[in-house]
């Protein structure tokens, strides 16, 4: 393994840097692996700060612009820190027809949250996502890994309160 100096970043601990290097080393020889590397690194840190993107680019021997271009293209990747819980509202057609718009605006109003934003206390991040394929449960909201079905606006409070 080539030893690389790690940049300083408040959200990335030394242990995280070591894990990140393992990911990069394991995938370096695999063509086209940059998306997988970014995914795994985001899972470690929670988001992709610019310093981390630079580090990945160096590690995979790609230009920084090439890696940044990939990050900005795919909606999975986030350049901003996320809240402790990610609330994803499905805005697929079935959920839309069944009224996710009202559910979404209830969350936005009550938690002072913009789409793509995070509450001040970093408790929740709100995202809208395209169809989750759980149309039978529409309208659907996913918090972290839990799928909540039939989320009418007045159920929102009770559901979100379960996540501290």
């Amino acid at each position: 393994m080539v030893s690389v100096l790690h940049p300083q970043h408040p959200d990335i601990t030394n242990d995280m840097w070591n894990e990140i290097d393992e990911v990069i080393d394991g995938r370096r020889s695999q063509p086209g692996s940059v998306i997988a590397v970014l995914r795994e690194c985001q899972a470690i840190v929670g988001y992709l700060p610019v310093e981390l993107i630079d580090h990945i680019a160096t590690g995979l021997n790609l230009s920084k612009s090439r890696v940044f271009g990939v990050v900005s293209f795919y909606s999975l990747f986030s350049l901003k820190p996320k809240g402790r819980h990610t609330v994803k509202c499905c805005i697929g057609t079935a959920c839309y027809v069944k009224g996710i718009k009202e559910t979404l605006s209830r969350i936005q109003n009550e938690y002072k949250l913009e789409e793509g934003g995070t509450t001040e206390d970093r408790r929740f991040s709100l995202m809208s996502v395209r169809c989750l394929g759980a149309c039978g449960l529409a309208p659907v909201m996913v918090i972290d890994d839990d799928v909540h079905g039939d989320v009418k606006p007045d159920k929102v409070d009770a559901i979100l309160e379960q996540y501290a």
Binding site: P31, G32, S33, V34, I35, A36, L38, R39, G69, V70, F73, Y74, S75, L76, F77, I91, G92, T93, A94, C95, Y96, V97, K98, G99, K101, E102, S105, R106, N109, E110, V129, R130, C131, L132, G133, A134, C135, G136, L137, A138, V140, D145, D146, V147, H148, G149, K152, P153, D154
Partner: protein, 615 residues
């Protein structure tokens, strides 16, 4: 385990078939699809295991977690064999009763049975429920029946026999010929004949070729690929092996949506088992043919469902389409000849090879053969997956199988083909599902999402919704799509906000025509369809928004006054109780009043008012 042979397949089938031909065996099939997991099927299963053990029934019943049953809105689903009694929305509370009454005493538990929305009668057997009775399961033949994490159960349902036949007894030309005879057309949406595609790739020069499976099911409202992967992952793997033999490829990739974690997990398990059995890897069935598959996870970009964009994405680049030709069959992934087929297409292949192309082509219409899986959702009673022969009418799908519209509301339109599709109104409901017929009425077959909308849906708002989707997912490479869809959205936003002008309709149509002609890939070329089809069939709604500043379906917030009609108000007070902002005052025997200062326009009152009194 050593290399699997035909004898092994037969032996495994013999040993396992007693379990899967479960009409005769005692099995408890609990649905383990994404939908049922979300409604709590895992704790129900654990409870069931515990209860069965308590009663000492372990030896008598097999408890199987199956893949998606397909009747997603009714989860958690439990089917009890022999007989096939269908229990819906089973909770932990019901388990004790089902075990005590049904398994011990042989009495059916009435209250957990499916209730027909029209006749209000309870129907005990799965096969008698109209949702299942009208279907013709081919690609879904194993759903809700086998354990998707058991390769033996797949083999017991004739699994890998098609691959054996193709690898040991059929030259590539013959495989391609059978697929051509079957009339199979790409189930991902475009409907290109699969056999022709394979033929091109087979004839392309090159020692390295690839078989790709498109499991990037991005169309909102389509979930058949997810269900197939969750319920029957080996069928897709077997289809890919046969495709690989047909074009002489040695490596395959499955490009799967990252939003489908369960499907990816089951697929990986299936690949591992297939490798263990020597059904993937070197010298499969001792035929000298080698092939392996890896899963590649997407990263959330709708355009990556387009074939050239998908290949760029696997290469680790921004997933942008490129002009064709050269077609992927000549220059695809890493510039090598490549075929890309959809999950549903590939899952059909093993049976086409096993039973012959003519068997497959025996059902369907002149130009569209076989069956198609539709994902029926929206304002319809029976939400779930429906597999019917091509040529079945939309009315049959929505009313006979789907059970019609809930409540007393009326049908308004059905949206077919995802964001590239169109909205079909009542007068065209007898259109048979067939690639050409659907196109004639202004929609496309697409991947098979059928979203039913009732009279409370605003069609202008729907067009705006799809355009919002498209312009956000447009990759930005070509100007017509990048700029054109944004302008379309701006005009639609304006109309929904009450700032529309009569000339906007012409502008929408003109812009749509240009985008259709000039966009680079399928995403852009079909992007105006939702706008054009809603203008075609629901022009009066556009005119109400533009001329009268009125939204007939009461969905466009900017056009609503948030006032209560004292004549219509029945003074029930429900709106006041539910208003999250405390903006509605109400006293007994007086109509409610909305304080506009406090109102956040959240629409809760509109959705709870049963008397249509708020406007």
């Amino acid at each position: 385990m050593a290399k699997t042979t035909l004898e092994d397949l037969k032996r495994i089938k013999e040993n396992t078939s007693a379990r899967v031909e479960s009409k005769n065996a005692k099995s408890l099939l609990i649905c383990g699809g994404t939908g049922c997991h979300a409604t709590g099927s895992i704790p129900v299963k654990e409870m069931l295991i515990e209860e069965i053990a308590n009663r000492g029934l372990n030896d008598q019943y097999n408890i199987i977690e199956t893949g998606c049953n397909g009747f997603c809105a009714m989860g958690p689903i439990l089917v009890v064999h022999p007989d096939g009694v269908f229990y819906e929305k089973v909770s932990k509370k019901n388990i004790e009763e089902i075990v005590e009454k049904h398994l011990v005493n042989g009495e059916i538990v009435e209250k957990c049975l499916y209730k027909d929305p029209v006749s209000k009668k309870r129907i005990p057997l799965q096969d008698d429920i109209p949702f299942f009775a009208h279907q013709m399961p081919r690609v879904l033949r194993n759903k809700g029946l086998i354990n998707p994490e058991s390769i033996d159960e797949y083999i017991a349902r004739d699994g890998y026999q098609g691959a054996h036949k193709a690898l040991t007894g059929m030259p590539p030309e013959e495989i391609i010929e059978q697929v051509k005879i079957s009339g199979m057309r790409g189930r991902g949406g475009a409907g290109f004949p699969t056999g022709v595609k394979w033929d091109f790739a087979g004839k392309s020069e090159g020692s390295v070729k690839y078989v790709l499976c498109n499991a990037d099911e991005g169309d909102p409202g389509a979930f058949m690929d997810r269900s197939i992967l969750e319920a029957d992952p080996h069928a897709v793997i077997e289809g890919m092996i046969i495709a690989a033999k047909a074009i002489n490829a040695s490596q395959g990739y499955i490009y799967a949506r990252t939003e489908y974690p369960l499907a990816i997990r089951r697929l990986q398990t299936a690949i591992d088992h297939a490798r263990e059995y020597g059904l993937l890897g070197d010298d499969i069935f001792g035929s000298g043919f080698s092939f392996d598959i890896d899963i590649y996870q997407g990263a959330g970009a709708f355009v990556c469902g387009e074939e050239t964009a998908l290949m760029r994405s696997i290469e680790g680049k921004r997933g942008m389409p490129r002009p064709r030709p050269p077609f992927p069959a000549q220059k695809g992934l890493w510039e090598k000849p490549t075929i890309l087929n959809n999950v549903e297409t590939l899952a059909n292949i093993p049976q086409i090879i096993l039973n012959g192309g003519e068997w497959y082509a025996a059902v369907g219409t002149e130009t569209s053969k076989g069956t198609k899986v539709f994902a029926v959702s929206g304002d319809v009673n029976n939400i779930g997956l429906v597999e019917v022969p091509m040529g079945t009418s939309l009315r049959t799908i929505i009313f006979d199988i789907g059970g019609g519209i809930p409540g007393k509301r009326k049908f308004k339109a059905v949206q077919l083909g995802g964001p590239s599709g169109g909205c079909i109104p009542e007068q065209h409901l007898d259109t048979p599902v067939d690639y050409e017929e659907i196109a004639k009425v202004g929609a496309i077959m697409g991947s098979g999402g059928v979203i039913v909308m009732d009279e409370d849906t605003c069609m202008v708002d729907m067009a705006r919704f799809f355009m919002d989707f498209i312009q956000e997912e447009s990759c930005g490479k070509c100007t017509p799509c990048r700029e054109g869809t944004r302008r379309l959205l701006q005009i639609l936003d304006k109309i929904c906000d009450g700032r529309g002008k009569p000339e906007d309709l012409d502008a929408l149509e003109e812009l749509s025509a240009v985008i259709k002609d000039a966009a680079l890939c399928g995403l852009g070329q079909t992007a105006p369809n939702p706008v054009l089809s809603t203008i075609r069939y629901f022009k009066d709604e556009y005119l109400a928004h533009i001329n009268e500043k009125r939204c007939p379906a009461k969905r466009c917030v900017a056009l609503l006054k948030f006032e209560i009609d004292p004549e219509l108000c029945q003074q029930c007070g429900l709106c006041s109780k539910r208003c999250p902002a405390g903006a509605i005052s109400w006293e007994k025997k007086k109509p409610a009043v909305i304080d506009k200062e406090k109102c956040t326009k959240c629409m809760t009152c509109f959705s709870v008012c049963r008397y249509d009194a708020i406007f």
